[in-house]
């Protein structure tokens, strides 16, 4: 120890201060708070979510969109596929809330029915792509070695193909008989790569955690560990990306419909394309489906953001 005589002398008489006991009552070492309510990670996330206005707004919008997609007939009595040329290009009003198109379709009805196409394609594409992505990503990350090498290279090849371009090629090859589910499949085929990459990354970071090793030491097999410990802990960022992907797939579907590659069912992309020639005389024809598309995509992206905030461990208090 330092024997610093000068320092000693500088300090006036060696005072020894002791705080009064009642000021800081001594607590039990590592006392357990038995009053707290249990809260799982998902419990806490949902607790945070309902307090986030972004989540509330986007969730309400999505609920509304889902309702519209399921029961568009509630909001209009017109059939969006029946054109009446006698009422072509009507201005809003007079029974037609948003007017009619050149072919005499009711614009409001087409916007409503377009929701169904967009959401169906988006939802199926999201589910399929997430399943493909999670399976490939999880195996690549968890098994490692040459399996990882092969799966990662495959992922990269698909990643390099632009979603819409790949879909156009696939469409052209299929030429006819393209249904909603087929579009969803094609989109999913080119859109799973970001899910796979994210899953691989989180699986890699989770698989070396002590609780996985502890489970191995308890006698759990590799697949048990993957299913019971690794995947549940790796899934949060996947959910966030999948939500955002849903918006991306809706945009892609609209792009394809705009290019004339659609199922023939009512779709916002197709309507935007149809409204384009009349852009000068009747810009609102273009505006309505575009606005619906924007609101739809925005709500999913906002939802994804809100979920990300709720699941982010750094945003969580403890």
């Amino acid at each position: 120890m330092r024997s610093d005589q000068t320092a000693r002398s500088l300090r006036p008489a060696a005072e020894h201060f002791v705080a009064p006991l009642d000021e800081t009552p001594l607590q039990k070492v590592d006392a357990v708070d038995t009053t707290a309510t249990p809260r799982s990670m998902w419990g806490e996330a949902s607790h945070n979510l309902v307090r986030n206005p972004v989540f509330v707004i986007s969730a309400l919008l999505i609920l509304l969109l889902l309702f519209v997609a399921a029961f568009p007939g509630v909001f209009t009595q017109y059939d969006p596929t029946k054109g009446d040329l006698s009422i072509s290009n009507q201005p809003p009003g007079d029974g037609h809330l948003l007017g009619t198109t050149r072919q005499g379709y009711d614009v409001w009805a087409r916007v409503l029915y377009g929701t169904r196409t967009s959401l169906t394609v988006g939802f199926f594409a999201m589910v399929i792509s997430t399943v493909i992505g999670v399976v490939i990503g999880a195996f690549a990350g968890y098994v490692g070695g040459w399996v990882d090498e092969v799966l990662s290279r495959i992922t990269e090849i698909f990643f390099a193909l632009p979603l819409v371009l790949g879909a156009i090629v696939a469409f052209t090859a299929l030429s006819n008989g393209v249904g909603t589910v087929t579009i969803a499949l094609i989109l999913a085929l080119f859109g799973w790569t970001n899910i796979a990459r994210i899953t691989r990354g989180t699986v890699l970071s989770v698989k070396y955690q002590d609780f996985v090793t502890a489970s191995t030491a308890l006698g759990a097999g590799r697949l048990t560990n993957l299913a019971k410990h690794v995947l549940p802990n790796a899934i949060a960022p996947v959910i966030v990306t999948a939500t955002v992907n849903l918006g991306v797939f809706i945009v892609a579907q609209s792009t394809l419909a705009y290019l004339g590659l659609g199922t023939g069912s009512v779709s916002w992309g197709g309507d935007i394309s149809d409204a384009q020639p009349a852009l000068r005389n009747n810009p609102m024809m273009l505006f309505y489906p575009s606005f619906a598309l924007a609101i739809c995509v925005l709500s999913f992206i906002m939802l994804g953001d809100a979920v990300r905030d709720a699941l982010d461990p750094k945003a969580r208090k403890r």
Partner: protein, 662 residues
Amino acid sequence: MSTTTAPRAGEQPATDEAGPLLEIRDLDITFNTSSGPVHAVRGANLEVYPGETVAIVGESGSGKSTTAMSISRLLPNNGKVTGGSIRFDGKDITSVPLGQIRALRGSEIGLVPQDPMSNLNPLWKVGSQIDEALAANGVAKGAAAKQRTVELLEEAGLPDAECRAGQYPHEFSGGMRQRALIAMGLAARPRLLIADEPTSALDVTVQQQILDHLDTLTAELGVAVLLITHDLGLAAERAQHLVVMYKGQIVESGPALQILQDPQHPYTKRLIAAAPSLASRRLVSAKDRGAEGEATGSGDGGAAPVGGSDAPAASADGGAAAVAATAAATPAAKAAASDADTSGSGRESTGTDADIVIRAENLTKVFPLRGKVPWRSTPFTAVDDVSFDLRRGTTTAIVGESGSGKSTVAQMVLRLLEPTSGRILFEGRDIAGMKGREMMALRRRVQPIFQNPYGTLDPMYSIYRTIEEPLRLHGIGDAKSREAKVRDLLDKVALPAAMMRRYPNELSGGQRQRIAIARALALDPEVVVCDEAVSALDVLVQDQVLHLLNDLQAELGLSYLFITHDLAVVRQIADRTVVMEKGRIVEHGTTDAVFHGPQEEYTKRLLAAIPGGSIPLAGSETIEVDVDTDVAESEDARAEDVDPHHPLGGDPEDPFTGAGHV
């Protein structure tokens, strides 16, 4: 570095010769958090006089770092000084503009941060970072700064400083980085150096070198040091004046030795009683207190109820019943056998091979490391010809610094890694060949507890599910009996059963570690491998967990393989000690033998580096320990072996354990 070049502090007299350099009065610091304001520091008073070393000691969350950081206004954005004053050199700096504080930083108040790994910019050469510090404080620029940097690094004890200054942080070891940070902190010759846990990330021998060096350097330059540490022993060894903080308040402050030998506040008493480096002996379990000679006998008694509680579970599952029965029966039988052999020397038994539950023979593990060319790996021998025994009902500790291969040994014992050569025998059977059912049976009987309390529990699992998982995996019992077992286990680790429905993120580190212990015990194992199981815990919590482990050992007849870097902990828990260095065993023997008569230079160095190990705790037996009375009692029990006034049992002639440091 001589003091002639720039000993600003030495030459420039303080404005008020008698006054303190730093004076903190009634300091309140409040953090605004989403759950309301948190009073991190309340009414703190402390002074630092020129040239002296003052240590603030406390657990994590006690407010010690917050107090220190507020001096140079380095609090996080949501933290604010809400009351009191900070005077530096007679001038109130509590609310002066930030510009003035900035002028003080570096030039008057230096800082050595805690984590040497993250406090150097990896993209910059070490030398340039010190150049920058010099330029920022207007000490030197350009070539002069470079010259000065080399001098500073030399002064901080870096060999070949000129060459080192041109290297990047990743080329430095942890100790070297901390030396560079010290050089940086002292670059502008401040009058006060705040050292925030400067060595807690380093190995003990490195820690000692660095602190010794810091001591001489600051003494030479007349720099006052405010040392923040969680380690009471270290604080007492290095500082003249101690400040003990607890829950944001200073509970006791005064001359270091006086506080250590005559603590007044119950919290300080508690800290001193728990500090492993100060007054420690082999812990005596709750059951054995007062009846040391019957230690193994009472372990025998403890094993029986466990077998009983397991019985209904086992009968529900025909296949597992036989295994469970033998598992429960053997420790009792073997413990009784070893009891017969036990001589007067406490737990250390000289029994036959039948007592040896785990034997490692010539274990070697070679890892292929990436070489200069990717297709040719260079072999790296992490564990080299290691052999040891673990006797039933006792603890064998493997001690070593980082990179000694101790954790690799643990992984091989748990069969999470396969040895390159050599074998591990569990009750005489080589575990390498085990497959299927036999392997599952081994898994039941050998369980791990890991270091990081934050990584060891699956955050998605409730406490109940976590502890139940092993039972479910092995198909033991039905839902009802499993729940009863989980309750029983929680009770064993002294946690309320109400905790079952909670999640790990709601628990403290110590509580998580106790849950991990409960999970490890769920299968009634015989061997528990503790890999740095208490290293991440605060000293009081560490003490609590060590006592728990020790009591469980006596109750259940467990054998521990205890992997740690902390010799002080080894002394508390281990019967046999294996010292490892660079993959090899350097010394091996009973804990008493290793601590009292170390044969190897390396062991001696390790022992000498235990902070506070050489401080005589005159009052150690008379301390009223309100937590538990183990320390005092165990001392009585072994009074004949060791000098009770000397925690290390130091031979006065031994330069390493003698009072030379005081």
